[in-house]
């Protein structure tokens, strides 16, 4: 059985009946798994080299492990093509049997005198190519949308402005860990399907967080036995490279608890839709939905049906689960007993940051002059000249920020003979900053929109300060 077929079996036969009738349920997932990489042993050269830095097709591999062991990470960009060709692409090229050029720089020691080296390698020429992925097969993953007024390019794909679309990841009903959330079967040493090869669970993955149903796996497998059918390099536009992997785990139906867990449906697995328009760690949740809702293709937000589509391939997840099912039926894939169960406790705490970044409120000027929308252009000009600044925020009668005019806007209006109300010439689409925002974000906003000042507003959208590119450059100059 695949995990997609199991809910109906359990509904029909009950858990006791399912234990009698079903031997194994196969799961599968096929998605971008950024936290992936490969240990490569490239063999010793003559004269020998202790590799300090190595580049495979111009993608740097970490050389700080002994002399000729390298770790190549999936998201490392290349020196020449950037994110369009990264570590994931080198891994796919190796699996496809293609030649990969290596340049290495050595330390130059008495035992390893070689200091520079160039060669060209195929997977067959490499002693060991062991995939070791710190964090794969997330139990479930939060979906993404974007409330801001510009398109954002993220690891969750292209998110269109003003809730233009929703992207989600994960196989839902077929997700390996969602079918065994308490680790009644999956544990250290469990044999798994990893990109076409037989791999193993090393243990719980990084950011493993079973308390909140965000468990992960660390997995390993022999790259030489993998197939490009289930291992594909990818690039997320303006974000980076990543590796799509097919991972499947068979779950033997040993008891009624396991039968019940594998009867999980898309509608039982809930995720938050979070707002990637807010570039902070704690992104606000817009709505909680199930995989069934997401897979329907539309989710309602603020009264509108927003198109939702996945970035992981459910079609390929099915192929993983089906392939694993066939391999088990033919006796090619044997199930294992775990050496130890996975930990039911994990940790995905935020980073402890010892060096505080200055916030907008630390650099903004507080004596900001604002005017109401009703005033005339010439009056606004006088205010600007009197205060010797370039940006004048415009507020409504209730005191909310509704626009901004610059000295340039006023000159343009006067040159064009327009001297009526300032509300006619102001920019209504104002970018503003929050006082508790790190200055890095304010600087990015200024840069993206090619502007030189941001009004700072409180929660009620009332102007409490102004931060200009001058404030930021002054801060930068002082720091050096």
């Amino acid at each position: 059985m695949t995990a997609e077929e199991m809910p109906e079996i359990v509904e029909e036969l009950g858990t006791a009946g399912a234990v009698r009738e079903v031997d194994v349920v196969t799961t599968g997932t096929f998605g971008a798994m950024c936290s992936s990489g490969v240990f490569l042993n490239v063999g010793h050269s003559d004269p020998p080299i202790k590799i300090l830095k190595a580049y495979l097709n111009k993608v740097e591999a970490y050389g700080g492990v002994a002399a000729v062991d390298l770790f190549l990470g999936a998201t490392q960009p290349s020196e020449d093509r950037g994110i369009e060709y990264g570590g994931a692409h080198v891994i796919e090229d190796l699996v496809a049997g293609r030649r990969v050029d290596m340049e290495a720089v050595g330390a130059g020691t008495d035992c390893y005198p070689q200091v520079e080296l160039e060669t060209s390698l195929r997977l067959d020429d490499i002693n060991q190519a062991t995939m070791l992925n710190p964090r794969n097969a997330y139990q479930r993953y939060n979906a993404a949308t974007n409330s801001s007024d510009r398109t954002v390019h993220t690891y969750m794909g292209t998110l269109l402005p003003k809730y233009g679309n929703i992207h989600y990841c994960g196989a839902g009903v077929l997700s390996p860990i969602s079918n065994d959330p308490k680790f009644d079967y999956i544990g250290i040493g469990t044999r798994i399907f990893l990109a076409g090869a037989q791999g193993y669970v090393v243990g719980s993955g990084t950011q493993h967080n079973p308390q909140n149903n965000f468990s992960t796996l660390m997995v390993t497998g022999d790259l030489k036995r993998m197939s490009t059918r289930f291992l594909r390099a990818s690039t997320f536009y303006k974000y980076g490279s990543s590796l799509y992997l097919g991972i499947g785990i068979p779950i033997p139906i040993l008891n009624e608890t396991i039968a019940q867990n594998t009867a999980v449906r898309d509608r039982d697995i809930l995720v938050s839709i979070v707002d990637y328009g807010i570039p902070r760690r704690d992104r606000p949740t817009i709505k909680v939905v199930s995989y069934e809702d997401l897979k329907s293709g539309f989710v309602e937000i603020n009264g509108k049906d927003i198109p939702a589509s996945p970035l992981s391939s459910f079609h390929m997840a099915r192929e993983v689960a089906d392939t694993l099912k066939c391999q088990i039926e033919r006796g090619e894939f044997l199930l294992t007993q775990a050496v130890e169960p996975l930990s039911r406790l994990g940790s995905a705490r935020p980073m402890k940051q010892t060096k505080e970044f200055p916030k907008v409120e630390d650099v903004m000027s507080r004596d900001v002059v604002v005017v109401k929308e009703g005033i005339r252009v010439d009056e606004a000009a006088k205010v600007i000249v009197g205060g010797s600044f370039d940006h004048l925020p415009i507020i409504s009668d209730e005191g909310m920020l509704i626009g901004i005019v610059t000295a340039w806007d006023i000159s343009k209006a006067v040159a064009g003979g327009k001297t009526s109300k300032v509300s006619e010439i102001m920019t209504r689409r104002v970018y503003a900053a929050r006082p508790d925002e790190p200055i890095e974000l304010a600087a990015r906003t200024l840069d993206i929109h090619s502007i030189s000042a941001l009004p700072v507003v409180d929660k009620e959208n009332k102007v409490i300060g102004m931060v200009t590119s001058n404030d930021l450059s002054r801060l930068f100059a002082r720091r050096r």
Binding site: T158, S242, Y244, A308, S309, S313, H315
Partner: protein, 129 residues
């Protein structure tokens, strides 16, 4: 609707060709994309199938090279993994799922290029662009 790709030679770029074709054929033309510079012009327009032949000939008589755009966007089937990265970002719903295979209705495409950037496998390509 049928899409036509027009290539306008340097010598006639400055003439009101589209207007004169509309007046002659009384066809409703929807200009979807136009790029004209000093050297030449490239225009994609949409016309109803029954007027297509007449419009095509009218342009050709005026020295415009016309090609019927049957596949505005094409996909490398070997690269596509049917993830769906193209589905919700397309403004004209060119892509949709059928039993979790991504199928495309190329005729809906207006060649905006959003899907080409968004495809993680770089499997999509705009024709004639």
């Amino acid at each position: 609707m049928t899409k036509l790709m027009l290539r306008v030679a340097p010598g006639i770029v400055r003439q009101p060709i589209i207007a004169s074709v509309i007046l002659e054929t009384s066809a409703l033309l929807n200009i979807e994309r136009a790029r004209i510079d000093a050297a030449q012009g490239e225009i994609v327009l949409e016309v109803s199938p029954d007027k297509c032949k007449e419009v095509k000939m009218a342009f050709e008589r005026r020295g415009v090279d016309v090609e019927i755009l049957e596949m505005p966007v094409s996909r490398d089937e070997g690269e596509c993994i049917h993830c769906g990265g193209c589905v919700s970002i397309c403004p004209t719903s060119t892509f949709r799922f059928e039993e979790w295979w991504v199928v495309m209705d190329s005729g809906k495409c207006i060649q905006c290029g959003s899907c080409v950037e968004a495809c993680p496998q770089r499997a999509l390509r705009l024709m004639l662009r």
